[in-house]
Subunit: 250 residues, 2 copies
DNA sequence: GCTTACATCCCCTGTTCTTGGTATGTCGAA
DNA sequence: TTCGACATACCAAGAACAGGGGATGTAAGC
């Protein structure tokens, strides 16, 4: 049943074309899993301007309104806990994950009054790209379906993945192609090396490194190092994993 | 059976006290799931001194050696793909996720020669704190157990969560805080503006912009613009959406 | 053979950046 | 009050880079 259920939901999501369809699918699956409500939020990384993202839920209106107020104050303990865990967590575990303030407890209490009892939240992050949560909750008088939390984890992950795919599609864009040498120079540049250092590492001339980076900039149509690195990161040509570790040692 | 399986593994992990025990548990569970090998890597973002992370695997020695060499060159396409997905992915999907270079394909080919065929990798990130992957792989002559990938997703997530709990306490972890001005300057820098241009935009002196960037670099302990931008992106201080959109319109 | 495309390598000039300084005003803690 | 921490602002010198040249070798296609 386990594998079948997840498989079925995954298949269903493949055909999802809009927020509304995803919302409907989530509503149905959350019921079948034994939950009363769901909430999916996806933030695409944009600090300042209008928040391009997605918020789907079937919470009671009352709670939704209150939640917005709390969220604006940045007081949601569940969100804070999301920064601490790889895996989903039931809300009754919050105290063991983060320190809870009086305001946090009050918020959870208000949630109960509005019809949201316990919940299970699946957190996911993509450095620099997105941050999402998928929550399944039950009414205050009911218990979480403990034996289905693993399934909720899968379903939440699938839903978040689907929501991400619904976002800005970059599939049709033509990604510039760099030669291997250009990419190597770019990688060491992203790691904070100067052209001269990169030249020594690669065993070629400093001017050659500069030339490789020049060509790479032309292909990406940018005119400085930092933009080149950002563009390459965004396109997946290089990854944070390739860079971050080297920051400390380099 | 499936729900039981995940539950059983979770129970097993609760009692795990050391890397060795986790490694053993993963080895066993990966066999039972129908895989030939596993690899778990966890990188913690620590000041530097302490153990930077954890690497457990039962890959063939030959491949482990080769992998280190490749990894030093930052050539692992799987790790790059980890920055793009909320959910685990089979390696035959790599091409649809990120651009593959010649070196990437070569690396995958060498992997096959060393006994690593296809694989399924579960990526997880905690902004500013940690990043981890859990991979289950099969020999070149075998196929991935497709019907158990959902289970692998759960198991991988549980294992990563366990590895995180095994790690050093993260009480000392501190994500650098920048002043508003510093972040503004950083943002325009990430957008490809020079210090002089940023100065005009913000209506302050060029030298002041340079000073703000200087302070920001000090707080992130990096020595150049591109590293500063990368670090800020990784920590979520700025997002690609703040930058990329601007590149297209500007 | 010829051409075209591309990866690789090198030089020069003017601009930009990094890095060491100094200085002022504000705010909160001692 | 005095002190420290911090954001803000500016200067000067040398290193590093962006953008302009040109050159060789290799592989594919006509």
């Amino acid at each position: 049943m386990y594998a079948y259920f997840a498989e079925e939901f995954a298949t269903e999501l493949i055909n999802v074309q809009s927020d509304t369809e995803l919302s409907g699918a989530l509503a149905e699956v959350s019921r079948r899993l034994g939950f009363d409500h769901f909430a999916l939020s996806l933030e695409l990384r944009s600090g300042s301007r209008e928040a391009p993202g997605l918020l789907l839920h079937d919470y009671p209106d009352e709670w939704a309104k209150v939640y917005v107020a709390f969220d604006l104050a940045g007081q949601d303990p569940v969100r804070r806990a999301c920064d601490k865990s790889f895996i989903g967590f039931a809300w009754d575990m919050l105290e063991e994950m983060i320190p809870l303030t009086r305001g946090d407890r009050q918020m959870l209490a208000v949630g109960k009054e509005c019809g949201i009892g316990d919940g299970y939240t699946v957190p996911r992050h993509l450095p620099g790209l997105a941050r999402g949560t998928c929550t399944f909750a039950v009414c205050p008088d009911r218990d979480l379906p403990r034996c289905r939390l693993a399934l909720a984890e899968i379903v939440g992950t699938l839903a978040l993945s689907c929501a991400l795919a619904l976002g800005p599609s970059r599939s049709t864009e033509t990604v510039p192609v760099l030669s291997d040498r250009q990419r190597e120079c770019l990688l060491w540049t992203a790691r904070g090396k100067t052209a001269a250092e990169t030249a020594i590492i690669l065993g070629i001339g400093t001017e050659t490194v500069i030339q490789h980076l020049k060509m790479a900039r032309e292909r990406y149509q940018v005119h400085c190092k930092q933009s080149l690195v950002v563009a390459a990161l965004f396109d997946g040509l290089i990854g944070f994993a390739d860079i971050i570790r080297w920051r400390d040692t380099g």
